[in-house]
């Protein structure tokens, strides 16, 4: 189940301009002087152009060594590395590095340079003129979400850890390199900031389409970010190299299973969104203007015990039991209000949370908050079972939606779910959530 050498095509990367290039490692080995065992042993893998590939594995397994051989901060003992078809070992190493973005855990910003000066280093090395560099610095600060006026002239020590990482990413992207190497870049910041930085990396990547090699020991981070994940064992031997969905659904061996850890199914749910699954349009809806007796007739005909009251814009309001109708003179003010709802954008994990809170099923709303269907626990378990089945058959195709990113990949082509159609089609603003 190691490198399967698949073509560098994913459905998701078609909407982003791919500016990255393919990286190939062939039989790459690194033996540090004085140690008997190689730190990286005979690694062969292809990192497809424009994809974010995560190298994940326990501490000391050789992730950093593997990554640093790509920009030759470490010289391989043997093997071949090509970047965009060019033999990396033949090129001048300093020039090679100027074409490869590099971001590391402690950010490694130059403390004596301002934010702008830090970002400007590589363009400066490449001999860009002042005006072009200044424009690029502003553009990048914008891109990574740092206010230019506020932060341009600050020094690294005047920034929070998260802000430093943003500058680190901006510096890595400064000369628009096709390839980006990131070694646990978000490892040293608090969980909330880490989550934000991850979301923004996904957003950036959706626009930029770089080839990114991302090292982490955090499997959840790998699942969240990776188009593909390489789970590495001792000496960087590849245990499994596949999409997050495939690895979660069907770990190749015990080591991978151990690394995936408990809650693999729950993690899978974070990769899927409500709009990706078939949820039925089960509820009988009524608006407050309808008379109780009329509704009762409709419910009797449909055999429904509950009806969902919606407002004029079809947003769910209250659940009405058929019992409540006999004594009521109007539908206003009867029934109990709808609790948690999920949107078509929600992850299945959020949906499950709502389903459990609501006692078995939850209302699904579209982009404007309108009722589009119901999702229940069987839908969720059904999806998991189907995934497992798909990936158990050897042919995992890597075509699943890996998108979990805030907006990013998720924003493209957002429509209304299969059971939808309730009014959403008429709204040109749909999708701009």
């Amino acid at each position: 189940m190691a490198d399967k050498g698949e073509p560098a095509v994913t459905p998701e990367s078609t909407d982003a301009a791919v500016s990255g290039v393919e990286i190939q490692l062939e039989g790459v080995t690194k033996r540090y002087p004085g140690s008997a065992e190689p730190a990286v042993n005979d690694v062969t893998m292809t990192i497809p152009a424009g994809q974010l590939v995560v190298l994940v594995g326990p501490s000391g397994c050789g992730k950093t060594t593997t990554m640093r051989m790509i920009n030759r901060l470490i010289e391989p003992t043997s093997g071949r590395i090509t970047i965009g078809g060019e033999d990396a070992l033949e090129l001048d190493d300093v020039r090679l590095r100027r074409k490869i973005g590099y971001a590391i855990q402690q950010a490694g910003l130059f403390p004596h340079f301002t934010v702008a000066q830090n970002i400007a280093v590589v363009p400066g090395l490449l001999g860009w003129n002042k005006k072009r560099i200044a424009e690029r610095v502003d553009e990048l600060m914008d891109l990574v979400g740092l206010d230019v006026a506020q932060f341009r002239d600050r020094y690294p020590r005047q920034l929070s850890g998260g802000q430093q990482q943003r500058v680190g990413v901006a510096r890595a992207l400064a000369a628009d390199p096709p390839v980006l190497l990131m070694d646990e870049p978000f490892g040293a910041v608090d969980p909330i900031t880490r989550g934000n930085l991850q979301d923004e990396l996904l957003r950036l990547q959706a626009d930029l389409g770089k080839t990114i090699v991302f090292v982490t020991h955090d499997f959840d981070e790998a699942v969240k970010l990776g188009d593909r994940i390489a789970v590495l064992g001792e000496a960087s031997t590849i245990q499994q190299y596949d999409t997050p969905e495939a690895i979660l659904a069907n770990p190749a061996n015990d080591m991978v299973a151990g690394f995936v850890g408990a809650g693999a199914s729950l993690k899978q749910l974070t990769l899927l969104r409500v709009r990706d699954v078939d949820y039925p349009d089960l509820a009988l809806t009524a608006d407050a203007g309808e008379s109780p007796s009329e509704l009762r007739t409709r419910m009797a005909r449909a055999g429904a015990t509950y009806a969902l009251l919606v407002d004029r814009r079809r947003r769910p309001q209250r659940w009405v039991h058929v019992r409540n109708l006999s004594s009521a003179t109007s539908l206003a003010n009867i029934g109990r209000s709808v609790g948690d709802t999920v949107s078509t954008q929600s992850t299945l994990q959020d949906a499950l949370e709502a389903i459990l809170a609501e006692g078995g099923r939850a209302v699904v709303t579209g982009t404007r908050g309108e009722y589009v269907g119901m999702i229940d626990i069987e839908t969720v378990t059904g999806v998991l079972a189907q995934l497992r089945e798909e990936h158990e058959a050897a042919g995992t195709d890597g075509a699943g939606d890996t998108g979990d990113g805030a907006g990013g990949r998720a924003a493209a082509g957002d429509g209304v779910g299969p059971a939808g159609g309730a009014g959403a089609a008429a709204d040109p603003g749909a999708g701009a959530s």
């Binding site: 920009n71 100027r98 490694g108 403390p111």
Partner: protein, 215 residues
């Protein structure tokens, strides 16, 4: 004659000697800085090299200045040369040691990033490492300068230039007219000049140390 009258009376000569004193000390410090930084750069990556360089420089400092001058006079003769050589040798320790400490104290993540984004070896050294070690190097130079201000007085024994001549001649003429005034004027001159140089170092630090790493 009061000290004040004495200084007013001999102002021209004292001013000239003061100027020569400062000039000798500053030039020796600069020369020692060039040598010390080169040594520091050469050895800082190797713990053994660092220990050897610091050890040798410390050994020099343990040689009493009179003895060192006595050893240098047969080699260089009398005059400014043995004095400057002695001063440079003494200044090496604080500068070399601080260079090594400063360079070794640079965050490895910063040099790793510098290399990783494509700076060459020389750029990493001059644009990053030495810039970050600069406050330490400057502090070493400051200590060296202060030390040399005093040692330069002793160097007058080898007929070196500066206020040392005043101090020595005042002391050897003890009891005769104005002997105390002469020795005092020389000594006070050294103290005042040392304070002035402190001020100069403060200004240099202010204008050459990046705000991002200023203490």
């Amino acid at each position: 004659m009061t000290l004040f009258d004495y200084v007013a009376d001999r102002w021209d000569r004292l001013a000239l000697q003061s100027w020569l004193h400062v000039s000798e000390v500053v030039q020796s410090t600069l020369l020692a800085a060039v040598i010390g930084v080169l040594i520091g750069v050469a050895v800082y990556r190797s713990p053994v090299g660092s220990a050897v360089a610091t050890g040798l420089a410390s050994t020099i400092l343990t040689i009493p200045s009179f003895a060192l001058l006595g050893l240098l006079i047969p080699v260089f003769g009398l005059g400014p040369t043995p004095a400057v050589v002695a001063l440079v040798l003494y200044a090496l320790l604080p500068i070399t040691r601080n260079t090594i400490v400063g360079l070794a104290g640079v965050d490895p993540a910063v040099t790793d990033a510098a290399k990783g984004i494509g700076m060459g070896r020389f750029s990493v050294l001059t644009r990053v490492e030495l810039r970050l070690a600069w406050p330490a190097i400057l502090a070493g130079m400051r200590v060296a300068t202060q030390m040399l201000m005093g040692i330069a007085v002793i160097a007058a024994y080898a007929k070196g230039p500066g206020l040392g001549g005043e101090v020595f001649s005042g002391l050897t003429r003890a009891g005769s007219a104005n002997a105390t005034n002469q020795a005092l004027a020389g000594t006070l001159g050294v103290v005042i000049l040392a304070l002035l140089l402190e001020g100069v170092y403060f200004l240099i630090a202010r204008f050459t140390v990046s705000r991002g790493i200023r203490g």
